[in-house]
């Protein structure tokens, strides 16, 4: 990473761990064989893949043969939802998900709606928390899938997956969770969560981009997604991304070792940042659930400023963050997550997300707390709406 750069966008992606990179390197040039071949070079690649599968399984508390490698979180989400829908068509056409899912889930559901499936989107409260009773009430005789994310990628709220899992099991409905934001950061054991399918992505926990996995519980009916060769127990065709898979395995192993220590440290740093922002900047509010939250996630809204402007001013100070404002999402609407939480559009436009990671230090947080308030003052001084409109939502 560039010296002096303060990277606070770990929910977008993480820097690959040097040891992960080292592990991957030998599978690019040295052990390059196709793992489907029978000679020793190929067998060596296959060993790398299976070692990685065991490491991911350990992280998830599953059996290795329930782990299927994919190209990442998006493919896993697409596969879980479409594969379940298409293999349960004779049973029903109803799917339950939430209003705050990642677009990989939401847009897949919208695609299925277009071809005749029906989808219920359960709402969230102002903290982005889903009420398991809403999921229970949404279940119909023809419900074939429930898909609820483990933690939200924008505000960091961790959803009551274990409770929803019990409801799904009782009703006999397959249950998928998009755990892209949680795997490697907080415990995501498939039996404790009670899920039948789980999506994960390597680059969110210091592994490589372009590779992820899906957990599929033994006995879960799901159609194959990629057609072709017989890889991944005939369920996901395509030559293995060996070096990528080895990288996910190495990152999973690191996560098992570092998770609890990292989480505790990140919670402290996030609290310092959150409290520091709230005490040094007026007309600001913190979003997401105060307790059920991803460690390291700080999401705030500021009155009278637009998110992209804050983001670019921070960038000029070599600080990387994200915003849910329309300008950064490429549409005219602000984040669907913030709107689903009941936030007025004019408030949602002023949002900014800091997502901390393993390498962040207290000094870096001090630096953010030093440079951010003057940026806010500068932009507000330029704003025609600050203190001129009465944004009631801020004054609670």
């Amino acid at each position: 990473m560039k010296k002096g750069l303060i990277y606070l966008d770990h929910a977008a992606t993480t820097p690959m761990d040097v040891s992960v990179h080292r592990e991957m390197g030998q599978y690019c040039c040295l052990f390059f064989g196709n793992p489907a071949t029978l000679y020793s070079l190929g067998r060596r690649s296959n060993e790398g893949v299976e070692k990685a599968r065991a490491e991911v399984a350990t992280l998830l508390g599953s059996s290795p043969d329930e782990v299927y490698f994919t190209s990442g979180g998006t493919e896993s989400d697409n596969w879980a939802i479409q594969g379940t829908a298409f293999s349960h068509m004779e049973k029903g056409k109803h799917i339950i998900t939430s209003t705050i899912e990642h677009h990989a889930v939401l847009d897949t559901c919208k695609f299925l709606e277009k071809i005749g499936f029906e989808v219920t989107y359960v709402p969230v409260d102002a903290r982005a928390l889903i009420d398991p009773d809403d999921v229970r009430r949404a279940i119909r005789k023809d419900t074939i899938l429930i898909s609820i994310m483990h933690a939200n990628n924008e505000v960091g709220t961790v959803e009551p997956i274990a409770e929803i899992g019990k409801i799904a099991r009782k009703a006999g409905v397959p249950f998928h969770t998009d755990a892209v934001q949680t795997v490697g950061k907080i415990p995501a054991k498939v039996d404790e969560l009670g899920v039948d399918m789980l999506s994960l992505s390597g680059h969110k926990f210091y592994g490589p981009k372009g590779v992820g996995a899906m957990y599929i519980r033994k006995g879960t009916r799901i159609q194959r997604f990629m057609h072709g060769g017989g890889q991944e127990h005939n369920k996901r065709a395509g030559t293995h991304n060996v070096q990528g898979i080895v990288g996910v395995g190495a990152a999973a192993k690191l996560a098992v070792e570092h998770m609890s220590e990292d989480a505790e440290r990140l919670r402290k740093l996030a609290t310092k940042l959150n409290d520091g922002l709230l005490s040094s900047i007026p007309d600001i509010r913190s979003n997401g659930h105060p307790e059920n939250k991803l460690p390291g996630m700080v999401h705030v809204c500021l009155e009278g400023i637009e998110g992209e402007a804050m983001l670019l001013c921070l960038d000029a100070e070599d600080i990387c963050v994200s915003s849910g404002s329309a300008c950064t999402t490429g549409s005219l609407d602000p984040s669907h997550v913030l709107l689903a939480m009941g936030m007025p559009a004019e408030v949602a436009h002023g949002s900014i997300r800091f997502s901390l990671g393993r390498h962040n230090t207290e000094e870096e947080i001090d630096r953010v707390l030093e440079v951010f308030p003057p940026i806010v003052r500068k932009l507000r001084a330029m704003s025609p709406t600050y203190h001129k409109t009465n944004l009631q939502t801020f004054r609670k």
């Binding site: 009278g304 637009e306 402007a309 670019l312 404002s325 330029m382 025609p384 709406t385």
Partner: protein
């Protein structure tokens, strides 16, 4: 995604602020869309003698506001009314396609300010 010129105007915008007694004020946009621009003008002998803006919005919104004030300063009201969104974008060495609606606003706010000035003039006559 932004040109260097956009970033320069965003980081150090020209003519920021408001007048205590403007001759004309124009405001366009709304906070729900995330873009609000207000432009105030001082007019002398049918020319824009001074101009200031306030903008809530993204970098493009701020840069286009800054640029439109630069373009308008010193021009006659008729000349300034003809400044288009394409002129503003062109002077900024281009804008991303999805940001063209922002630059539209800056020129609109200027036209609104000129209209406000003319309305005031005709009323006082």
């Amino acid at each position: 995604m932004y040109s260097q010129k956009v970033m320069e105007h965003f980081r150090n915008p020209h003519n920021v602020g408001e007048f205590e007694d403007p001759d004309g004020v124009g405001q366009v946009g709304n906070p729900q869309c995330g873009d609000v621009m207000r432009i105030g003008i001082k007019v002398q002998e049918d020319r824009i003698a001074d101009i200031r803006f306030q903008t809530l919005g993204c970098a493009a919104a701020i840069a286009t506001s800054s640029m439109v004030t630069d373009l308008a300063k010193g021009k006659t009201l008729d000349e300034a009314s003809k400044i288009s969104r394409d002129d503003v974008a062109h002077e900024l060495d281009g804008l991303p396609a999805n940001k063209m609606h922002c630059s539209n606003l800056a020129a609109d706010a200027l036209r609104e300010a000129i209209k406000d000035y003319r309305d005031r003039q005709s009323k006082s006559k």
